[in-house]
């Protein structure tokens, strides 16, 4: 790999121990990836913030003790604990203490304390064509697909190395030629009513991941313009069921004004026709629990946006959550602050709902052991909960989730899907 003078001086330790450590890891990974050179990045999002145990804490504190400082604007992904609200849940004190130490280590590096998996909601969005280093799979898919910024999926432990040096190996989606669509997903006769249904986007995302795996899918046949929260849901679904870090939607996403542009003039290697029956099948993969008693409803993966707080508000106003059901929204400090200022949290609290910030049910051990059946509208929560939480999952729209929370049993309205 060709190293610049800057890269060499990092490696020599001229810029301190942390830069030296970070560059040596970047260089080894660059060699494994057969990178020709390193390039500059102008922004980073660190996913290494997730507390997994002593090892991730020791890694963070080692860097902090070496005096690590980021050299580009850097946002932080979710942490392992809601530092003010963990006592209300089942989080062990030792976990909270260590996860908090890990938060402090990453905050000490000159980062922005965003603590969210949806950095595109709370910080300045990367611009089209900008080279960035982001971790967190849904955020990576969003940056590449929706914003047209350029990042590979940075794994934990490497994203912080990129932020400390401002350099990354020039590989994968950083390079134009790797951003071309590879397979075509043709939606056939999907009713517009369904395209705007709350569950359509997460189901489409789950389908993209299942079919595309790690190839770049191009979606054709959408007749409705998707909102930011729908795009977010596609990103989370596709990056959970598969390794989708970039997708194109013809006529909607910035590198896909036309089908030809999405494929950079090439032909798709595969074409998949998708009809309503296929979508119904994918939907059923995420769900299993019609009519059963419910312990918890959880919304907000990726983190709940302000628009979603507003959408939820009229659904729960004047209603009461069932006493056997916990109703939880996971979000960021920034979005919760907006919701509080707009009075939306009052409605949520009157309903019997709660909010957790900085983290989520998958990254902090907050759930009580008696929580056996969850309901969500997130394909990501639905995908990971059975394995990570040993919980049964029901999958429904936001309205289904509210209806079920009130009745205490899973109640979904499938009329759009069954037609």
């Amino acid at each position: 790999m060709n190293l610049s003078e800057f890269d060499r001086s990092c490696l020599a330790g001229d810029l301190g121990k942390a830069s030296q450590f970070a560059m040596s890891i970047l260089m080894r990974i660059g060699e494994i990836q057969s990178a020709a050179e390193m390039i500059d990045i102008t922004r980073a999002h660190i996913d290494s913030t997730l507390f997994q145990g002593d090892a991730t804490l020791e890694f963070a504190e080692k860097l902090a003790h070496m005096g690590a400082k980021v050299v580009v604007p850097t946002t932080l992904n979710v942490s392992g604990v809601d530092e003010n609200g963990w006592q209300d849940w089942a989080v062990p004190a030792e976990w909270a203490e260590k996860a908090h130490r890990q938060m402090l280590a990453y905050q000490s590096m000159g980062t922005e304390a965003t603590w969210t998996c949806a950095p595109y909601q709370v910080s300045e969005k990367p611009s089209f064509g900008e080279q960035i280093a982001w971790g967190e799979s849904n955020a990576v898919a969003f940056a590449n697909s929706v914003l047209g910024a350029r990042t590979i999926q940075y794994p934990d432990l490497l994203d912080v190395c990129a932020a400390i040096t401002g350099r990354v190996p020039a590989v994968g989606l950083h390079l134009n030629e790797n951003r071309a669509g590879e397979i075509l997903i043709k939606l056939i006769d999907i009713p517009e009513d369904l395209q705007i249904d709350d569950l359509f986007a997460p189901v489409l995302g789950h389908l993209l991941g299942t079919i595309a795996d790690d190839r770049v899918p191009v979606v054709e046949g959408l007749t409705v313009e998707l909102a930011e929260d729908q795009l977010k849901a596609i990103c989370a679904g596709g990056a959970s069921s598969g390794a989708v870090h970039l997708f194109h939607i013809v006529g909607q996403t910035p590198e896909a004004l036309t089908r030809a542009e999405a494929f950079q003039g090439h032909e798709p290697t595969d074409v998949h026709d998708i009809n309503l029956r296929d979508l119904r099948h994918i939907r059923s993969e995420l769900d299993s629990s019609q009519g059963k008693a419910l312990d918890m409803v959880v919304l907000g993966s990726p983190h709940f946006s302000f628009a979603e707080f507003r959408k939820l508000d009229p659904m729960i106003e004047g209603q009461q959550c069932h006493t056997d059901v916990d109703f939880l929204v996971t979000s960021s400090r920034a979005m919760v602050k907006l919701a509080r200022e707009s009075g939306l949290l009052d409605t949520l609290e009157a309903f019997g709902g709660k909010v957790t910030v900085d983290t989520c049910i998958l990254t902090t051990p907050m759930l009580f052991p008696e929580t056996r059946r969850l309901m969500t509208n997130s394909a990501k929560y639905a995908y990971y909960s059975p394995g990570l939480l040993d919980a049964e999952v029901a999958f429904g729209s936001m309205a289904d989730c509210v209806r079920s929370a009130i009745s205490g049993r899973v109640r979904t309205n499938n009329s759009l899907w069954d037609s």
Binding site: F21, I25, R28, I29, I32, Q33, S34, D47, S48, L50, Q52, G53, D54, A55, T56, E58, F59, K62, G135, E136, S137, V140, Q153, Y154, P155, D156, L157, L158, D159, D213, D214, A239, S240, G242, A243, L362, Y383, Y384, P386, G387, L388
Partner: protein
């Protein structure tokens, strides 16, 4: 003597042990219990098997960026795979091994093999991996132990 396969070494090292093979990619976050080494992604064909100190052969990893964190924790607890064999450039898996070496002075080898060779491993039950990336398909010397 068994068959030999030449792998490309991403992270060098030696390993010997039973093999867990699947042609389905695996996310270690949400898919691998760092405390026990059990594969916990219920949608994965290897669900329920224990990957600790075994050689895992999968096409690539997928999903969360925290796969590296999970593997680093597993190394610290002695519950990491003995080695991982993939068909793609497994930079996440290699990274976990490289950082484990920096922090704990121990790691696991990561090798890349051609797809044809990868498919030969499906029926294998015991592998030996050498420093130069040669994989020997052998016979489990303790055939009664669970695989």
């Amino acid at each position: 003597m068994g068959d030999f396969i030449q792998g490309k070494t991403l992270v060098e090292g030696e390993a010997t042990g039973p093999v867990l093979w699947s042609d389905k990619p695996l996310s270690f976050w949400g898919g691998y219990d760092q405390n026990t080494g059990e594969i916990i992604d219920r949608r994965h064909p290897l669900a329920g098997h224990v990957g600790a100190n075994r050689i895992i052969a999968i096409p690539h990893t997928k999903g969360s960026s925290t796969t590296t964190g999970v593997l680093l924790e597993a190394v610290r607890r002695g519950k990491s795979p003995a080695a991982i064999i993939t068909t793609g450039v497994a930079s996440f898996l290699a990274l976990a091994s490289i950082v484990a070496n920096e922090l704990y002075d121990t790691n696991f080898p990561v090798l890349m093999v051609a797809e044809d060779d990868f498919n030969k491993l499906e029926s294998a039950d015991w592998l030996s991996i050498s420093h130069d990336g040669v994989i020997e398909i052998g016979v489990n010397p303790q055939p009664d132990s669970p695989s």
